[in-house]
């Protein structure tokens, strides 16, 4: 029953995507929303059912790929780690689809999209949803790789959705960079299979030391490319050419999380990551935090600002995971919790920017001002998002950041205090800047650009409200789930 549900979670959105692509107008939207809603409901049910344990089952068999571990290659696996990602992709996916039903259209002052273009959008979006669910419930590296590459393709298609020169270039760049990551992943996979004859996550622990180091470095490179970490961070800001819901979903909440999810999987399956790799991962995460931070102050486009913030937050997740690799369970849990917490916070922020662009046609920080008067709900959502993303209690990211910091302190030695100081410093600067930007855009005198508008239509406003609640409640769902992760 549970296995069926898990399989259906991949099938339903895929089929829904095909239907939405085939239909036109309202029925296309209807198919998309229905499929996303069904997937989200199934995900919630499945998570609740396996809560506290894990569910693994075989679905098919590929004997020529089965190795000595003798576990089937095609199957499903739902454990607390997967549940976290599953909830993020399905719930935020549903909200994004609902939001998109109004965002795409002729009323959008930022980008008018004629109705004939809609089915293509929903097709790729739902296909992406299906492949992300696939990533979350993959029981082995091979299947994970398959869905991983699928998300790359969807991402390319959706970034280039507007088909203008800039978006085509941005899509191509994203495709190339993430594909390079995919190649690293593939090589790691081949080494793993050649050596152990298995694609199991646990097989990593069976590798000899030197080879394990190589495999982990390759996996790390793959994760960096996918999660837009330094030095592969340049594709993400340019991917902001995508429609805003896509930026919110793919490039903040879901697709980039596939990268960090891969690391979380690799680390937590057997806890076999070599310490050196863990160190490098943590150091690069901190470096990423600060490099991303330096870009904050020069951004005028709200979406690009949020993109850099996303890069920094993925750094947080990787930092937490590296703490796990170095021996701190709390830090690892914090990193995983950050996936869901940041997902909701950043989706809120992006969709707020989408709402602003929808009604004003502008995303420029310097051109906007005094929006709170006309768009109170968006203003509230934006501030909730800012506070949640920068880790102000009681909102979501506070809890995950706090757990990551706890992990850092738990490690002790010289690393703990240094990380503590660096992370808190980054938090403070990011917080100050984001609040400053929030004040600039929403408070103060109204600028001409910001003069004529009101909150976005109910479908979009409703999504914003849901996300605000999500920002508050994400830890309430996440903390009980992550407490089962550990050795």
């Amino acid at each position: 029953m549970l296995t069926l549900a898990l399989v259906l979670m991949v099938v339903i959105p895929a089929v829904g995507g095909v239907l939405a692509g085939a239909f036109k107008g309202a029925s296309s939207r209807g198919a998309a929303v229905t499929a996303a809603a069904a997937t989200a409901a199934l995900a919630a049910w499945a998570t609740a059912t396996v809560y506290g344990g894990a569910h693994a089952a075989a679905v098919g068999d590929m004997p020529w790929l089965g190795g000595p571990a003798a576990t089937p290659v095609v199957g499903v696996l739902l454990d607390p780690l997967g549940s976290i990602l599953l909830l993020v992709v399905t719930v935020i996916g549903l909200l994004t689809v609902v939001y998109s039903t109004r965002y795409l259209g002729m009323d959008n002052r930022d980008h008018r999209v004629p109705p004939t273009e809609h089915p293509r959008y929903y097709f790729w979006l739902l296909l992406f949803l299906a492949s992300m669910v696939g990533v979350a419930i993959s029981p082995n590296f091979l299947q994970l790789f398959f869905f991983w590459e699928l998300t790359t393709v969807c991402s390319w298609a959706l970034i280039s959705y507007y088909r203008n020169e800039k978006s085509l270039a941005a899509g191509f760049k994203a495709l190339v960079v993430t594909q390079v990551g995919g190649v690293f992943f593939l090589v790691a996979l081949l080494i793993l299979f050649a050596r152990t004859g298995s694609f199991e996550f646990g097989a990593l622990a069976l590798l000899p030391d030197r080879l394990r180091l190589v495999v982990f470095v390759l996996l790390l490179l793959a994760a960096w490319a996918k999660a837009a970490q330094v030095p592969f961070h340049t594709w993400l800001p340019e991917a902001m050419e995508a429609p805003t819901p896509i930026s919110a979903y793919l490039h903040a909440a879901a697709m980039v999380k596939a990268g960090v999810f891969l690391m979380a999987r690799s680390v937590s399956s057997g806890w076999a990551m070599p310490v050196e790799v863990g160190m490098v991962m943590g150091a690069m995460a901190v470096l990423t935090l600060f490099i991303a931070l330096t870009y904050y102050f020069v951004q005028d486009d709200l979406k690009r600002l949020l993109a850099y913030s996303t890069i920094a937050h993925l750094g947080y997740v990787l930092l937490g995971i590296s703490l796990g690799a170095l021996g701190s369970t709390v830090g690892f849990r914090g990193g995983v919790l950050h996936i869901i917490c940041h997902g909701f916070a950043k989706a809120t922020l992006f969709l707020c920017v989408g709402a602003i662009a929808y009604v004003t046609g502008s995303r420029s920080i310097s051109a906007l001002g005094g929006l709170a008067k006309t768009m109170p709900l968006t203003a509230a959502a934006f501030f909730v998002g800012v506070l949640a993303a920068t880790g102000v209690p009681p909102f979501s990211c506070f809890w995950s950041k706090f757990m990551i910091l706890s992990g850092a302190v738990q490690l002790g030695g010289a690393i703990g205090p240094v990380l503590l100081v660096l992370v808190l410093l980054e938090s403070l600067i990011a917080f100050s800047w984001m609040v400053y930007v929030g004040q600039k855009v929403f408070f103060g005198e109204r600028t001409p650009v910001a003069c004529v508008n009101s909150d976005p239509p109910p479908a979009m406003s409703g999504v914003l409200v849901a996300l605000m609640i999500g920002c508050l409640l994400a830890p309430a769902v996440g903390i009980p789930l992550v407490q089962w992760i550990g050795r």
């Binding site: 870009y295 808190l424 004040q439 903390i479």
Partner: protein, 668 residues
């Protein structure tokens, strides 16, 4: 009902009130009165809890929620110290909400949806943080309080100065919270739990084993709490933030919010810190910090002409007194518990008194602002005739804050200064600090005489018609002014209660109330058979009444006729505004003497070196060159493919020759 249940009721009522007032925000008056009703209702269970605590009903900690992932537990426990601060919160919350109902008419264009709900959440967070005994949840509620007060500070969002004040407030206090998070985590590593008791033990262990780390942790907590309390130099946010908020909120900010910083300081430095050489050191640090802020804060206040900004600077000054008392108390804990208890009593009593008179002063300034639209004291004058209730309440509060006997401010300052001088017998530094305290109390007086002289007295401006504020705004002021008098004249009852609070806060045996306060009708401290210090407000009031009556009898002895006459201005007839002595002219030579005491620093957006940013831009120096190189290589290769068969044949021939040559070279 247990305390935990009562407190949950209280917090839920406040949060429910927030939702209801949000729902009916379209009707301004209704939303206001609903909020008042909910706050009043929430005060009932709160009062019950407080009464239980002071009646000595013992209750253990109640666990409301557990987070095994960390692990942390939301535990609730009210001791006498918490109860004391709960009283402050309840009283000020109720009065400031009541005041706000009519005051908010002032802001016609702003919706009250951004006011009452936030205000109630603010109160709820304060109640919650006072009763939890788990550091993680304490920090959560602490920051919830910060962020809700931030939205209250930037209520007038269109104003640039409000925005600046709000940002400054939020950033500085958030930085302080991050310090506290760091300190907490270091202790947590040792303790493995976030409960106050465990952190307390781990601080003791740390102090014994790694004293440097322990002092660092204490420093982090000191910065964290002192920032919120408004102790200079960290309290620099306060003079901007308090005036920016609507007056009812200013009263709550100055009355309660900054006191919670003091609450935190007491928890850390009295409860967590073991009585040892370390507590002596930190006591001196606290006392010095307090003296710096009372000195600088009050002298800077003297130079202000904006009434609310002036009061905000005085908040810094008065918090300095509290901090001074606290520091003397902590420093004396080991050597002389009696003086320590006296100083801590003084600090807590001053906290209560400051809540009364500063809230009253802010409400008074708000009332003036409400009726005249003016905060600049240079442009006000002679309001006592048209706003008698506001004028008399403000006068009482002003005399209280200046420490004029027999009002409450004097009693608490007396306790603090007496503790300073008596503590100075062992530690001479405190003598100087006590003298500075006495001097600054005069500066406070000067500053508030200026307020009274410039705003309420002086030449009346007949052209402006000003009425007294409505009852709902006058009542809170009158209540607070009455409290100022009552607490001042009958200090034994509140001090007896505060003695329990001190006893619950410190880790040593505190002398009983009789030993501390004497047994007579006033306050008297005797130690070792030697009479040390006395203050009997009732006797002095009685003597003053008798002396005054006698003097009045003399005054009326000649039955002189009373006649009202116009002011004599050397025969010139000028308008009231022209002959008025404006606030900025007061004490000019004195102000010049202390002009450089509060330097202004201007923060700028960090200019990041462009070279470094270029270095971070991997695209330009790594990826694009690589792509271009690959591209160029491919072009080069494709250039050789010209499509002419003869050329290809030539290539084949050349290739064959090369291959043969190589083969020959290798095989030979």
């Amino acid at each position: 009902m247990t305390s935990a249940l009562l407190l949950q009721t209280c917090v839920l009522l406040l949060l429910g009130g927030a939702l209801v007032s949000l729902a009916c925000a379209r009707n301004r008056a209704l939303a206001g009165w609903v909020s008042v009703a909910f706050v009043a209702a929430a005060c009932v269970p709160l009062a019950r809890v407080v009464v239980n605590v002071f009646a000595g009903v013992a209750e253990g900690e109640t666990v409301l929620l557990a987070l095994p992932a960390l692990p942390a537990r939301l535990t609730v426990h009210v001791d006498a110290l918490s109860a004391f601060f709960l009283v402050l919160t309840g009283v000020i919350a109720l009065l400031s909400t009541l005041f706000s109902v009519r005051y908010m008419e002032h802001f016609e264009k702003d919706t009250v949806a951004k006011f009452y709900p936030v205000l109630l959440v603010f109160f709820a967070s304060m109640v919650a943080l006072l009763v939890v005994t788990d550091m993680l949840f304490f920090l959560v509620f602490w920051e919830l309080m910060t962020l809700s007060s931030f939205f209250l500070v930037i209520f007038e969002r269109e104003r640039k100065d409000s925005q600046r004040a709000g940002l400054k407030y939020f950033v500085i206090t958030h930085a302080a919270t991050l310090c506290m998070i760091a300190g907490t985590l270091v202790l947590w590593r040792q303790a493995g739990s976030f409960s106050f008791a465990a952190l307390q033990d781990s601080l003791g262990v740390l102090l014994a084993e790694r004293a440097v780390v322990a002092h660092l942790v204490l420093f982090l907590f000191f910065v964290g709490f002192a920032t919120k309390a408004g102790v200079l130099p960290m309290g620099d946010w306060l003079p901007d933030a308090h005036p920016a908020a609507p007056s009812g909120v200013s009263a709550a900010l100055s009355g309660v919010l900054v006191k919670l910083g003091i609450y935190g300081l007491i928890r850390v430095f009295c409860s967590f810190l073991p009585v040892s050489a370390a507590s002596d050191t930190w006591g001196v640090v606290l006392a010095l910090a307090g003296t710096v802020s009372l000195f600088v804060g009050t002298l800077t206040a003297l130079r202000q002409t904006d009434s609310k900004r002036l009061m905000a600077f005085h908040t810094i000054g008065q918090i300095g007194y509290i901090c001074l008392g606290l520091g003397v108390g902590v420093a004396c804990l080991r050597t002389s518990p009696t003086i320590a208890a006296l100083a801590l009593l003084g600090a807590l009593f001053h906290a209560a008194n400051h809540a009364c008179f500063k809230a009253c002063l802010f409400l008074g300034a708000g009332a003036v602002l409400h009726r005249t639209g003016e905060r600049d004291m240079d442009r006000l004058g002679g309001l006592a005739a048209s706003m008698p209730v506001t004028a008399s309440s403000t006068t009482v509060a002003a005399l209280s804050i200046s420490g004029v006997p027999p009002f409450n401010g004097f009693t608490s300052k007396w306790l603090i200064v007496a503790a300073c001088i008596l503590g100075g017998l062992q530690h001479p530094l405190f003598l100087v600090l006590g003298l500075v305290g006495m001097f600054i109390s005069l500066v406070t007086l000067a500053s508030f005489l200026k307020v009274l002289g410039a705003v309420f007295m002086g030449a009346r401006d007949e052209s402006r018609s000003v009425k007294e504020v409505p009852l709902s705004m006058a009542l809170p002021q009158v209540v607070l002014a009455a409290l100022c008098v009552l607490l001042g004249v009958f200090p034994r009852l509140p001090l007896g209660v505060l003695r329990d609070a001190v006893a619950s806060a410190v880790r040593i045996e505190v002398p009983g109330a009789d030993a501390l306060l004497g047994t007579g009708f006033g306050l008297g401290l005797t130690a070792g058979g030697l009479a040390l210090a006395f203050w009997a407000p009732l006797v002095v009031v009685l003597a003053l009444a008798l002396g005054g009556a006698l003097a009045y009898a003399i005054q009326r002895a000649g039955a002189a006729k009373v006649r009202e006459v116009p002011v004599w201005t050397c025969g010139e007839l000028d308008s009231a505004a022209a002959v008025r002595y404006p606030a900025s002219s007061f004490y000019l030579p004195f102000k010049h003497a202390f002009a450089g005491i509060y330097p202004a620093l201007h923060a700028r957006v960090p200019q990041f070196p462009a070279a470094l940013r270029r270095a971070f831009n991997v695209d330009t120096w790594l990826y694009r060159p690589v792509v271009r190189a690959v591209d160029g290589l491919a072009r080069g290769v494709s250039r050789s493919h010209v499509g002419v068969p003869q050329v290809y044949l030539l290539w084949i021939a050349v290739g064959a020759v090369v291959v043969v040559a190589v083969m020959l070279a290798l095989t030979r």
